[in-house]
Amino acid sequence: MKTIARCTLLLIGLFYTLTSLAQYDPDKVCRIENGELIFSLNLKWTEKEKKEVSKLFDLDSILMVEAYKGTPEIVSGGEIWKVKKMKTSLVELSKPIQSKPAQSKDGKILKNDDVYLVIDQWSNFTGKAKESSVVFGVNNFALSYVFTYRSDNAMFYLPAYKTANKVYIAGTFNGWSTTQTPMKAVKDGWMIDLDLKPGKYAYKFIIDGKWTTDPNNKLRERDGDGEYNSIVYCCNHRFELKGHKDASKVVVTGNFYAWNPRGIAMNKTADGWALPIYLRDGTYVYKFLVDNEWMHDSANKNTRKDADGYLNSFIEIGEPYLFKLKDFTTADKVVLTGSFNGWSQVELVMDKTEKGWQLPYVLAPGNYEYKFIVDGLWITDFENPFSVGSGNTKNSFIALKANHLFTLDKFPEAKHVIVTGSFNGWSTQGYRMTQQDGKWIFPLYLKPGKYTYKFIVDGTWILDPSNKLYEQNEYRTYNSVLWIDPF
């Protein structure tokens, strides 16, 4: 008898558990019936589940709360929603499916691109090739002679496909062009020399029309479409450690690798150990680990003590830019601060010289805003004609390794000329152009890709009169179009 009672209790318990657990399946929330979009909402969902449903189906949280309350009709987002109470803790929220095709207010321009933008967002996919901001990288070729890199010249060799008619190389260095970079037929295969800056590049060969990864390159990355690209680094530094030939393992690690003690394995050479590496422009602190024993690079005179007083070697990659401030020789302290270091007010203390202050500082190519802090007082660089913003928000501006000069050869009498565009989010504070030899100019460093822009001449937006490329925008006016090539 006891057993039966127990079983009954257990069954009741089980039944209770099953019914009280609201079955949560986001795939079953939404359906379409006779032109109505219907959402089945379960009152027993956890708060987390409710939030997820709200996010997946773009249901306003207030709308959800009202629906749970059982309010029969709710106006939300300009639409009328109907609520129907179902049995067992379910409510159904419905509205007619929006059936009109997308139209802008004037009914002329479709905004259908939005559809794909939304879907891109959902699938976490931007579609644009991402700019590689990798800090460091090391090659991994199966054969040492299939890739060499010396003084900005990269040689790719494909020792195969002798009978192919045409072989091209396509990669991030040529915008993945399938036609612009043919390889030369050489003995036993195909070869090409390319002028490449140090950096990380993805590439493939196109052999008689067919995309092929480099068979001798072990370094590959997913291309986002279920396939792979070969990856190569054009190296700009070589770590070297003389001696220690009897060591079984030598690795190098540093701030570029978050001081990971696994390090990056170095290769044995005739007189020690070496590792060609690509390092992004910047300053790096490093050490070697010889059979798990830490040591600094005794061949490198540049050392700094770490917080515990140990010596670390450091290297600077890239050319330093010399920030200079004339005069202020009576000041006690001048600090350089800018967008490059998060506007730190302490980090970059400048050195006093006879005529003022200076500080060499390595920066990657790019656009930067900066100021000097002279004994606590923020000032712009009055020797630099280029600035951004106005009044208190005015900052000095520098484009390191600028690759485009915006030029406006008209309006010499204008007071303010600004260039603004997709490169700065169409900021109307924008980049203030400077008059030089009767022309308005502004230099910028722009990554390869497409940019749209306009000039603002004393408040009036105009197209670049010297650029024949322009396209329509959402205001049914036009924007000038600029392409920066990868080369």
Binding site: I32, P101, V118, A164, N165
Partner: protein
């Protein structure tokens, strides 16, 4: 609701000269074809191409076939091309009729005419036409062809690549067309009047399913089945997702899973409601294709634009299913499905 670009698609619905229908069966075996220099002829073959009342592009190809690498920008397939000395990409978009060029680069070409366009909104406007002297795509050269001009800047801005235009089937009709999306390759084989490959030693495409191409338009319509009902789909390589009509019959709607929605309000949202989900019960021939991503939308305007009722569009997620072979002369569409383990 689908895509801007559709707005600009032009529909010459009564254009085609009489096409003789030759039905030939596909025999098995299909191998990759590459041509060698030995088959090049010294005199290029100039063939008068697809004839319509206004549109007569000519092409030159020295070999019997050409392999064109496709580039991808997100879910778009791009063909690198040189159009009147401007180098860039053409979106391979079989939902577009003819050639549509981006006004950013071609607005200064001399206008050769105007034509009416109808788009997904059902609105009618005029589109400028220009004449292009030369287009080079891999080893294929077209001379003297007409193109419509439209603003395609939004595709560039979204995908970050230079888009010279859109290319649909009209320029490719005189080839047997093989689309291998998985390997990002488009292969074109020259065919004779009967639709047979010029180089007879080339094997025929081995298809798992063959469907007769109905009608004479440059837009390809395919019959697919959902919930036992036969539906009319537009085969659109430019559609970044499949689409299915939101007002289809209830038994069809019941087979869909709606996984996401984007409403109308709020910053950065679409200007219309977007419903996204999966087709669970789609079949073409006897082949069930489960789990294809799709948007769910009203396709009335698109039907109106294409001049025929459309229940859905087969785009990117369909192309991923296998290798597709299209022969307009034989009026045949064939597909060989990628086996699961190959994916």
């Amino acid at each position: 609701m689908l895509s801007d670009r559709i707005k600009y698609r032009l529909f010459f619905l009564a254009l085609l000269s009489v096409a003789t229908v030759f039905m030939a069966s596909f025999s098995p075996s299909f191998t990759t074809v590459s041509y060698s220099k030995s088959v090049l002829t010294s005199v290029p073959n100039s063939i008068i191409f697809f004839q319509s009342n206004t549109y007569m592009p000519e092409f030159n190809l020295h070999a019997d076939s050409v392999v064109i690498p496709l580039k991808r920008a997100g879910r778009l397939f791009l063909i690198e091309a040189n159009v009147d000395n401007e180098t860039g990409n053409l979106v391979f978009d079989t939902g577009a009729n003819g050639l549509v060029l981006n006004s950013t680069y071609f607005r200064n070409h001399v206008k050769s005419g105007e034509t009416t366009s109808s788009g997904i909104t059902g609105s009618v406007g005029t589109v400028e036409q220009i004449t292009i002297s030369k287009i080079v795509i891999a080893d294929l050269t077209y001379t003297k062809l007409r193109a419509d001009v439209a603003n395609l800047g939004h595709i560039e801005n979204r995908r970050g690549v230079k888009i010279l235009g859109l290319i649909g089937f009209s320029m490719l009709r005189n080839f047997e067309i093989v689309i291998d999306a998985k390997n990002s390759v488009l292969k074109l084989f020259r065919i004779d009047k009967t639709g047979k490959k010029l180089k007879s030693s080339l094997p025929e495409f081995n298809a798992d399913h063959i469907q007769k191409i109905e009608g004479n338009t440059n837009i390809l319509f395919l019959k697919g089945k959902i919930s036992g009902k036969i539906l009319n789909f537009c085969f659109d390589t430019g559609a970044e997702t499949n689409a299915i009509c939101s007002d289809c019959n209830r038994s069809i709607m019941n087979t869909l899973t709606i996984t996401r929605r984007s409403g109308l309000s709020g910053a950065g949202k679409a200007s219309s409601e977007v419903l996204f989900g999966r087709m669970n019960d789609f079949a073409i021939g006897n082949k069930q294709i489960p789990d294809m991503e799709t948007i769910i939308t009203n396709l009335d305007a698109l039907s109106e634009a294409y001049g025929t009722h459309i229940d859905g569009m087969l785009g990117y997620s369909f192309l991923e299913q296998g290798i597709i072979c299209i022969n307009f002369t034989r009026k045949q569409f064939g597909i060989r499905f990628t086996k699961r383990e190959e994916k």
